[in-house]
């Protein structure tokens, strides 16, 4: 065991820190053009697609360097790259499963954010049971014709392209009849509507697809291989956000402590109230454990072990922690934690949510409900852990064999 950072990693952190100190945008990025320009600046500096292989325009960076770069960005709350899903999911899907022509056509423009991507997976009636999706892609000879409805599409409003899962064979068991496509979002037959969430904002969209066109050359992998492809790329999370996440938690925690110094009860700051202290101590212990667990994940990745099924444990752990953390913060802050506007400056306690957005505890609290649902709900993660890590028997299910 040696939990120190290597001299190379320390030097990399130092360089990265200096770069962000010198290059952070001076003003809030308001337009898409400004955000794309920032993305391009990040790309040119080597902070986008760091983990991609060099041959596809990446940097072959180690998992630790990726984690450090993301951590430094979180430290100064730098705006994220614009094409997160393209970089994290679509690109790896293409360079692992795509044809040479697809790699040539799409990868570079993903890296530079010249083309923005979204993921067309979930449907109104296919959430946790994603494999039951109904969107059809029918072979029309020279192309596929796609019809269906997608939901929970992050970045759908700005996307130029979508990574689509659609049913190409309804006569085989549901996992085997799904194919994976790259499909243009800029065509008649693709309609994108913002989906307003409980936060009041719309990070997600609904996508209505009516007789849209999918090119034959844009099929990824083989017909019927879509489910398998989705499985491998869903687990592409390489621990890159592991340190950044904890840095955001720690920064939120110190904001909570600051608020507890200002608010008063019984003639003294809340921070001197033993009940409040007990709550703070409990949640900070959990926060630190998240940090130790992140280091453990990075250690495994550094040794070349894939996160594999352990990523289910990590995801379950941090998303549930985020809910507890924000619940506890609002317990301590009471209505001051729910306020979105209208309080005088000295009683307006800021915080940055784990998403990197938002400025209020109210937003952070509401947003924390998302993490245990997206990318496989906590219940799905527990199924995966139970079956694939602990080796417990599968549930008897009729739909594994039925068409």
């Amino acid at each position: 065991m040696d939990l120190t950072y290597s001299p190379e990693d320390l030097a990399f952190r130092e360089r990265t820190r200096r770069w962000f100190e010198g290059n952070m945008p001076r003003q809030e990025l308001k337009t898409l053009a400004e955000r794309k320009a920032w993305h391009r600046t990040l790309y040119d500096a080597g902070f986008v697609g760091m983990g991609w292989p060099r041959q596809y325009g990446g940097r072959d960076a180690t998992p630790m360097q990726q984690a450090i770069a993301a951590d430094e960005m979180a430290r100064v709350n730098a705006p994220p790259p614009t094409n997160g899903l393209g970089i994290g999911i679509v690109g790896p899907t293409i360079f692992v499963h795509g044809t040479e022509a697809q790699k040539q056509r799409y990868l570079r423009k993903i890296l530079t954010a010249e083309e923005l991507w979204c993921q067309l997976y979930s449907e109104p009636n296919a959430g946790s049971d994603l494999a039951s999706l109904k969107t059809r892609a029918d072979d029309r000879g020279d192309h596929f014709e796609v019809t269906g409805q997608k939901i929970w599409t992050s970045g759908g409003l700005n996307a130029d392209w979508g990574l689509l899962l659609a049913r190409t064979d309804a006569a085989v068991p549901k996992h085997k009849g799904i194919s994976c496509f790259l499909i243009s979002m800029r065509q008649p037959g693709v309609e994108v509507r913002p989906l307003k969430q409980i936060t009041g904002s719309a990070e997600f969209a609904e996508v209505f697809v009516t007789q849209a066109r999918g090119e034959k050359s844009d099929l990824v992998g083989r017909l019927g291989q879509g489910w398998e492809i989705a499985q491998t790329t869903l687990s592409y999370e390489r621990g890159a956000n592991s340190l950044a996440r904890v840095t955001r938690y720690a920064s939120a925690f110190s904001q909570l402590v600051n608020a507890s110094k200002v608010l008063r009860r019984g003639g003294r700051p809340l921070l001197e109230d033993p009940v409040v202290r007990a709550k703070l101590g409990r949640i900070y212990a959990e926060l630190e454990v998240q940090r130790y667990a992140a280091l453990r994940v990075l250690s495994a990745l550094t040794k070349g072990e894939g996160p594999g099924t352990a990523s289910s444990i990590t995801k379950l752990s941090y998303s549930e922690f985020e809910k507890r953390f924000n619940e506890l913060a609002l317990e301590i802050l009471g209505p001051y934690g729910q306020t979105m506007a209208g309080l005088p400056e000295d009683l307006n306690f800021p915080v940055v949510a784990s998403s990197g957005h938002g400025e209020t505890w109210a937003y952070a609290f509401l947003w924390s409900r998302a993490g245990t649902i997206y990318s496989g709900s906590s219940e799905i993660q527990k199924n995966v852990i139970g079956e694939r890590v602990l080796g417990l028997p599968k549930e008897p299910r009729a739909d594994r064999t039925r068409a």
Binding site: M1, R277, A285, G386, K394, P396
Partner: protein, 372 residues
């Protein structure tokens, strides 16, 4: 960044597991529960030969010069076996003497401990239910020949087999730590029976117990740092043992859920059980990260070592209690029987939860670390 055990640590863990699997079976543990001493001389000899008593002692005293990580590895395996005996309190005494004792004290006790002929314990809790070293009320009074100690210590682990007891007391100079021979005059023990028969406690009374002038560990009035160090190591060691108990309880639950059938299916196929087991694994893995991070931080002298020790104890105590409790729930009725072995681990985890600083104490320390 390497969070895995190196080859030597892996070998130590394998050896510890193999030894305890053979010599510290549930049957053997139950026999010790009924034994008045509660620990096995033969096992102590074997453990001495394996080098466990001197694991973290400098080589000059017959030790191996290893650290808290190695100690935690052995303790985790002991928790997994519900080992009954005075190993850990003895190690704590040895570490304290090695770090802060005089040459005389070290010569008197360390080789004896490393070779298995002496055992020790620490009397950290006083009349108040309070782990803060400053809560000590036992008095040390100066005499012509040295000191006399008067007070009542509570929940002293394995005092009935100890040859040497570390006793914090309030001297005119302030908080002072004394190295007391358990045979000293005016020192009496009353056994206290807890829920875990593999964790023995005593009330230790000192009625003007005379100790020599050179029985002070360190400097009179300066005991707080060494007591804080003792509490930290105690906290991390207890975390390791609770982690081992929890992992055993999880393993038993998963194995049981695969074979126990109800409604014509293994109960592990039901989400109600499968999800519980997944939550237990999550707690065990987090407890592992917390325990070994803290152990490493102590060995490395990391700046956040005090924080990490408190984090480990506050987190693992609750995690282990939850995991061992849910293990009973997964098993249903059989898990509630005396005959089934699950309660060995459930009780061990519970018995250690309040020791070396309970969660409330450590959470307060955590808040001080992060807000001062």
């Amino acid at each position: 960044m390497d969070f895995t055990f190196d080859q030597d640590q892996q070998l130590l863990r394998n050896a510890a597991r193999a030894f305890l699997d053979e010599h510290c079976t549930p049957t053997a543990v139950r026999a010790l529960w009924d034994d008045s001493r509660g620990e096995s001389e033969a096992m102590w000899k074997d453990m001495t030969q394996l080098g466990w008593l001197g694991l973290s002692l400098p080589e000059v005293f017959g030790g191996s010069g290893l650290g808290m990580v190695e100690t935690a590895i052995v303790l985790e395996e002991m928790g997994r076996a519900a080992y009954s005996g005075s190993y850990f309190p003895t190690v704590l005494v040895a570490t304290s003497l090695a770090l802060g004792g005089s040459a005389e004290q070290q010569k008197r006790w360390l080789p004896a401990i490393a070779t298995g002929s002496a055992r020790g314990t620490v009397a950290l809790l006083d009349a108040e239910w309070n782990w803060d070293p400053d809560a000590v009320t036992t008095r040390a009074t100066k005499t012509a020949k040295g000191w006399t100690l008067t007070g009542a210590k509570r929940f002293v682990p394995w005092a009935h087999v100890a040859d040497v007891v570390l006793v914090p007391a309030r001297a005119p100079e302030g908080l002072t730590l004394f190295v007391v021979d358990s045979a000293a005059a005016g020192l009496t023990l009353t056994p206290v029976t807890g829920i875990d028969p593999g964790t023995r406690w005593s009330a230790l009374a000192l009625h003007g117990t005379p100790v020599a002038a050179d029985a002070v560990l360190g400097t009179p009035g300066q005991a707080r740092p060494i007591l804080e160090m003792l509490l930290r190591r105690g906290a991390v060691g207890a975390s390791a043992e609770m982690l081992g108990a929890a992992r055993r309880a999880l393993d038993m639950s998963v194995a049981y859920a695969k074979v126990r059938e109800q409604f014509g299916q293994p109960i592990g196929s039901f989400q109600a059980i499968r999800h519980k087991c997944a939550e237990m694994l999550l707690e065990v893995e987090n407890a592992h990260a917390a325990t070994y991070y803290a152990a490493w931080a102590l060995d490395a002298g990391a700046e956040d070592a005090p924080l990490a020790a408190s984090v480990a104890k506050a987190y693992v105590g609750e995690a282990a209690r939850k995991v061992c409790g849910e293990a009973i729930q997964v098993h249903g009725g059989i898990g509630f029987t005396w005959e089934y072995d699950l309660h060995l681990y459930f009780k061990r985890a519970k018995a250690l939860e309040p020791m070396y600083g309970d969660a409330d104490y450590h959470r307060e320390l955590i808040v001080r670390h992060v807000t001062d």
